[in-house]
Amino acid sequence: MTPLSESLLHQVAGQVLEECAFLFTQPGPEPEVWPEPVTCATLTFAGPRKGKVELYAAHGLAMAIAADMLGLEADDPEAHRLADNSIAELANVITGALVAELFGTECLCELGIPVVAHEAPGPRSESSFALTLIDLEGRPLDLRVSLEPSL
């Protein structure tokens, strides 16, 4: 198993964000305050180890991501309607790529269905890996991955 690390999270999430949403990001500081309504997509996985991926984005960035994924203007009503779904799909794609890096492709790893909520990230847990990515306009995404202890 490849060890989970912030650099692995950045490598995987950065590639997915670029290829799916043309979003170029760099690791940055965790925001002290999330000023807007925040979309959180959570996805579980169960392979050689079980775990959970959470992806947080403010609604304005979620709308911009939906617009980029679909080739729409940022203020298109369809981008507003599909903002949550775009974060859910990004969480899904990031998780699929991440578990392949962590566990390889020879073993089965069941992915859950993304669940969307509207809540800002709470305090980071010492038992999870977390990474804040900042896009070129300074907007943050927070990615958190927790692994259950191995048996």
């Binding site: 290829e19 799916c20 599909l82 779904n85 859910a88 899904n92 794609v93 790529a97 073993c107």
Partner: protein, 128 residues
């Protein structure tokens, strides 16, 4: 001109797949969308479909179950399928090959990758 069915529980991904087919230079006559396996089977039983593009990880009926149902029905057994999925497990890919699925593309993908996979599965000439 192709009539395609895109099966994915994510509306965003269904739209991305349709857009990618067009960007990739494929001539699409009509697109049907299904958010799950049962809806896909209903469409397949009611419409002529040249190609199914299908996710694996979906609630209620996943993509592998959908393909199993398709291959057990003479009406849909020969419809070509391309899986477009986050799943990379060799066991799943092997199972899909057993079921006759010849196209497999992992997300994230570029439009040209999807178009190339579709052309290979359908035996279409590449656009130069």
């Amino acid at each position: 001109m192709l009539t395609v069915l895109v099966v994915d529980d994510s509306a965003v991904m269904r739209r991305m797949v349709v857009k990618s087919l067009s960007v990739g230079g494929l001539q699409i006559n009509q697109v049907f969308e299904a958010a799950g396996g049962q809806q896909a089977l209903d469409i397949l039983n009611a419409q002529w479909i040249d190609l199914v593009l299908c996710d694996i990880n979906m609630p209620e009926m996943n993509g592998i179950e959908l393909v199993e149902r398709m291959t057990s029905d003479p009406l849909t057994a020969k419809v070509p399928v391309v899986m477009v999925t986050t799943e990379r497990s060799e066991a799943r890919i092997s199972r899909l090959k057993e079921l006759g699925v010849t196209g497999y593309l992992t997300k994230p993908f570029r439009p040209e990758m999807l178009a190339r996979t579709v052309r290979e599965v359908l035996g279409l000439e590449a656009v130069t």
